[in-house]
């Protein structure tokens, strides 16, 4: 499969990159690992006139810790996250999520954390070849006026955010740094996502993701990521869940749950926090209730955008939510933050 023609830009520093973004705006795209972007270009889903390579910007590929924050450059390779000792030691949820992305020989050595977070939304009617889409009506995401994934049609796009890294990082209250020639913005990772299928990121055309900041959890905090997929690798999630649970004096003081792969943006489930905080730690039913809340929230969003049936995915929202919360709680209680022996 051939790539369309484009101009290749190789900025030597961040400022040059930002200048290019400013100049070309909507006609350019950032090339990190390319494992998402290049596929879309081959399928004719996007046709940027310019690609801005991050190859010569090692400053975007560093991980450091400062002031209680883990600062991960947007261009950090997934493989480097998986070998960064402090993440192995203290961030099991993040480790689980990055491990679950695709497969080692596909993404881990080329793919980046920023690339995974910023991947375009997906839908079984949209992620198809030029040939397939040329034989049908154009859908909303492709600039047309219909949605195949929504029963009865829709004037909005019902594609899915399929980032495996996003749910748990949002649950961890991650922040992101976004930069343009106009300056730097610091915003919660959750706000990077627009919820608009046609344009899933809140980045302006002249902006790029620079860094992701993950607060150091401290003891008594547990994180976890649960992904349901039909195969052991390669697949996007059918449903996923990222969770953070914080325990103090044997009481849950914070619980964040984010459901992935069901909606146009990672889905923060409100209400879970209250439920978990209001009950003693050993209560088994509380997880069932949390699962139900997650399922009901997700229900409004689930569409026919993947092959697996909607009712199954609904049920799995509850199951994955419970599994992620349970594991995060166990890690919070045990005080151990490393990955358990399997």
């Amino acid at each position: 499969m051939r790539l369309p023609a484009f101009a290749y830009e190789l900025p030597r520093d961040l400022d040059e990159a930002l200048e290019l973004l400013k100049t070309y705006g909507p006609e350019c795209k950032i090339l990190a690992g390319g494992t998402d972007l290049l596929v879309r270009m081959k399928q004719g889903l996007t046709k940027p006139a310019h690609l801005i390579s991050l190859k010569a910007l090692p400053e975007l590929a560093t991980i450091q810790e400062s002031g209680g924050l883990l600062r991960i450059g947007a261009a950090v390779r997934l493989a480097d996250i998986l070998t960064y000792q402090p993440i192995l030691d203290r961030q099991p949820g993040l480790y689980e999520a990055v491990t679950a992305i695709g497969a080692p020989s596909i993404q881990h050595f080329r793919g980046t954390i920023g690339g995974n977070l910023c991947q375009d939304n997906r839908c079984q009617f949209y992620d198809q070849s030029n040939y397939f889409r040329g034989a049908r009506q154009t859908c909303n995401k492709a600039g047309g006026k219909t949605c195949f994934a929504w029963e009865g049609g829709s004037d909005r796009c019902h594609s899915i955010c399929q980032s495996d890294a996003a749910p748990v990082m949002i649950a961890m209250d991650a922040q992101v740094l976004v930069q343009s020639k106009r300056g730097v913005r610091n915003l919660p990772l959750a706000e990077l996502y627009s919820g608009v299928g046609e344009r899933p990121l809140t980045l302006s055309d002249d902006e790029m993701l620079i860094e992701i900041q993950v607060p150091d959890s401290g003891s008594g905090t547990g994180t976890a990521f649960a992904k349901l997929a039909y195969r052991s690798a390669i697949d996007y999630a059918v449903v996923s869940a990222g969770a953070l649970v914080r325990v103090e004096d044997n009481r849950i003081v914070q619980a964040n749950l984010v459901i992935g792969a069901v909606s146009r943006a990672p889905l923060k489930i409100s209400g879970v926090d209250e439920i978990l905080k209001s009950r003693p730690v050993g209560d088994q039913q509380v997880l069932d209730e949390a699962g139900k809340v997650a399922m009901n929230t997700a229900g409004a969003f689930i569409a026919n955008n993947v092959a697996q049936p909607k009712d199954y995915r609904m049920q799995m929202v509850s199951v994955m939510a419970k599994r992620a919360l349970k594991r995060a709680l166990e890690r919070a209680l045990s005080g151990s933050r490393t990955m358990e022996e399997k």
Partner: protein
């Protein structure tokens, strides 16, 4: 057991080295001087009349060297069988599925070819499509082919005995329906064709194929050139699995473009094209009614099978028959009635596939489990009661000379710990068994036999010329093993010239794993003839009786006196010096009933031998997600004789991956009308390394009287019964008999919930 040098030994394959170094050339790896890139324009409608095709704009694009449409053809309709001639390789009247070939371009590079496609204007008159086979045969449905009323492409009626009488005297009768969506081949290698005409106007063509001679004849007919000017060449092939047997429109189109441009042309299919525009497996609706006696012996079986055939016949009669035939070979039945219908729909044509009719096969075995439960007997026992035995005839009158079906059942059950596990596993933990049989070949008329030629060089090396083709299963190595054994030389002394329709004599092709039985046998016969020649002269030189001579390790000697032998080259030179050539030929034609025909006369000897297999699978189901973890799979097959155990184990393992792990758990195409939604390996879930269970392989040898060294089909029985075993194991685990395949997690959860509901209501 005779003391073989190579036969029966696990040895590495002779074709492996070139594959691990990257030297092996697949079709898309070929380049020739001045070669052009071809691309095919495909229909965007599932059903439409072609009103006009305007290629003028495409021809004007610089770099475009030729454009072809139906008008460049003789307009003939082709079919695998005379009574299934329904396909034009470039249609002139209608398109019948999304993905069908409409026009093609040859240009100096891919980008130009792609742009040219975009400039071809096709005017269509859109017709109503039909996608569901039951809707397609209902009155008023859009008709795909004028010659096939009600869209019934094939009807195979096999009626033996009187099923009504049989049911009347049965102790227990039940009726169940089983369904499966289509599965698909997903060969590693996407389809590709390279064609060129040489200076004498001979066509040389390369493509993945399961029988070069099967490709050559239809090409000759379609192009209007004699058979000896069509050379289908040997090439490394990345899998066939039944889907690359007959000629493909891409073959014809590439040849046409090569002829028109006078230059070599290469067409490489995308993964999507390989999925939507070559072949898929059939979707099936199978209704099975079975009556048994008190002990569980089947008295009568009545099966109706509706197969979703897609837009053209392909190998329709075969695909409509094989699921039934496999069953009647594996299991005894006093009375049987089978009505198999292959129905046209506006989708990709469906062909023979290694897992023939998973709904049929899975259905037969699941129903046996249902019957066993009702009678209070063990699923293994009901298989044993109904198992085929040697010396019997199938219902369609094929004699089964060798059969170790029962041995495969007991050995598999033993190894899998069936007795300790059946009925004793905790909830959500299950074990299941599947049995099947595969015919080693089928009647192929004038193409049913194989001939081999062998020549020896003066230094003792041999060249074996055979039409046998290797799709990756190890056929080349099999020929080398046999030739080396019979000639008394080493595998490295044997050169192969194979699968070339110009040079190699006709061979049936690699269908139904027939290559060892027929092609291997022909090589064995040829080698024996050469050896006879060598021994005539060697007996003089050694002053020994020819009957006492042995050829081994490049020497010929009298039995028991290996140190007093003569080197082979010396014998060869002696023969040559007397003015006689050192070469030989041999052929093999299986003893089949030449009057047997799939539709008009489905009775008589089907093939020379049958293989029999049993698979037992043990699974664990996650009751929250419905996901299945396969713990262990045990596969036992009666292969007649294991020519190369290492190769056979690999076949079993691959068969379990395709038939069981993929075929029963995750594999199916999903559709939106006439559009395939999952044409790539991302969304069509072929299993991965971490998905696979522990596999135990057991080779059972029944020593077939006609097979070379007693060998017959090896591997396909396992691919088929692995699907059955998986279905049975999952059903056992969740306590619900699953009747719709593949058994995806959502179906499992629904079944578990339904069972809980029903249990709730009966309390």
């Amino acid at each position: 057991m005779p003391d073989y040098a190579f036969i029966g030994k696990s040895m590495p394959r002779v074709d492996s080295r070139a594959k691990v170094t990257g030297d092996a050339l697949f079709t898309a790896d070929l380049t020739f001087p001045r070669m052009l890139t071809g691309k095919i324009l495909r229909s965007i409608h599932p059903h439409a009349r072609i009103l006009n095709i305007d290629v003028s704009d495409a021809l004007r694009l610089p770099g475009v060297k030729a454009v072809v449409t139906g008008h460049d053809t003789l307009g003939k309709k082709w079919g695998v069988f005379r009574y299934t001639q329904d396909q034009q390789f470039l249609p002139t009247d209608k398109v019948r599925f999304i993905g069908e070939e409409v026009a093609a371009v040859a240009a100096i590079d891919e980008d130009t070819a792609q742009e040219a496609l975009g400039r071809i204007r096709v005017e269509y008159e859109i017709l109503d499509p039909v996608f569901d086979p039951m809707e397609a045969i209902a009155p008023g449905a859009p008709l795909l082919h004028d010659d096939f009323p009600q869209n019934i492409n094939i009807h195979v009626p096999i009626h033996v005995g009187n099923v009504e009488e049989g049911f009347a005297k049965s102790y227990y009768v039940r009726d169940d329906t089983f369904t499966a969506a289509e599965d698909s081949y997903f060969h590693g290698e996407p389809y590709a064709v390279v064609a060129r005409f040489d200076m004498d106007d001979n066509l040389e063509i390369w493509m993945p194929n399961a029988g070069p001679h099967m490709k050559a004849k239809p090409l000759s007919t379609a192009l209007g050139i004699p058979l000896n000017k069509v050379r289908v060449r040997k090439i490394t092939i990345g899998g066939a699995f039944g889907g690359r047997s007959e000629i493909s429109p891409g073959d014809f189109i590439c040849a046409l473009l090569a002829r028109k441009t006078g230059r070599p042309v290469k067409i490489v299919y995308t993964r999507e094209e390989n999925s939507i525009a070559t072949r898929q497996g059939h979707a099936l609706i199978t209704t099975i009614k079975t009556g048994v006696d008190r002990d569980g012996l089947v008295i009568a079986r009545d099966i109706t099978c509706y197969m979703d055939g897609g837009a053209y016949s392909s190998t329709g009669p075969i695909a409509t028959s094989v699921p039934f035939l496999c069953m009647e070979q594996a299991y005894k039945m006093e009375h049987v009635r089978y009505d198999g219908y292959r129905i046209y729909t506006n989708k990709t044509p469906r062909g023979m596939i290694r897992i023939h009719g998973r709904a049929f096969a899975g259905g037969v075995d699941i129903q046996l489990d249902m019957i066993a439960e009702h009678l209070g007997i063990d699923p293994v026992d009901i298989r044993m009661i109904n198992a085929r035995e040697a010396g019997e005839y199938t219902n369609t009158k094929s004699y089964v000379a060798s059969c170790a079906m029962k041995e495969t059942i007991t050995k598999a059950a033993d190894r899998a710990g069936w007795k300790e596990k059946w009925g004793k596993l905790p909830p959500m933990h299950g074990i299941g068994i599947g049995c099947n049989s595969v015919q080693t070949g089928f009647p192929m008329g004038i193409r049913g036999g194989s001939q081999a030629l062998i020549k020896l060089n003066e230094d003792g090396g041999a060249t074996v010329i055979s039409g046998v083709v290797d799709n990756g299963q190890g056929n080349d190595n099999m020929l080398v093993q046999i030739a080396a054994e019979e000639l008394g030389i080493r595998p490295e002394d044997v050169q192969l010239v194979t699968a070339d329709s110009e040079v190699t004599p006709s061979d049936p092709g690699a269908y139904s794993q027939v290559s060892t039985f027929i092609g291997g046998q022909a090589v064995k016969n040829a080698a024996e003839n050469v050896r006879k020649l060598l021994f005539e002269t060697a007996s003089e030189l050694l002053k020994a009786d020819a009957a006492d001579l042995v050829a081994r390790d490049r020497m010929i000697f009298a039995k028991g006196c290996p140190e007093a032998g003569i080197p082979l080259p010396k014998v060869i030179r002696r023969i040559l010096s007397r003015g006689k050539s050192v070469s030989g030929k041999g052929d093999y034609w299986p003893k089949v009933d030449s009057k047997r025909e799939w539709v008009s006369n489905p009775f008589g000897q089907m093939c020379g031998a049958f293989s029999f297999g049993t698979t037992i699978a043990e699974v664990e189901v996650d009751p929250e997600t419905g996901q299945v973890r396969v713990l262990e799979v045990t596969a036992a097959q009666d292969v007649g004789f294991a020519v190369n155990p290492l190769v056979l184990e690999g076949q079993f393992q691959g068969g379990i991956a395709m038939g069981g792990q993929g075929g029963m758990l995750t594999e199916c195409h999903t559709w939106d009308g006439g559009f395939v939604l999952n044409p790539t390996q991302l969304e069509y879930k072929v299993p991965l390394a971490c998905d696979m269970p522990k596999i135990n392989t057991i080779l059972v040898e029944s020593d077939d009287p006609d097979g070379p060294y007693g060998a017959k089909e090896a591997g396909m029985s396992i691919a088929m019964c692995a699907a059955q075993a998986y279905a049975a194991a999952i059903s056992n685990a969740i306590g619900v008999y699953m009747t719709d395949f593949p058994i995806t997690p959502d179906k499992i959860l629904r079944a578990i919930a339904k069972k809980k509901d029903e249990a709730g209501t009966t309390e």
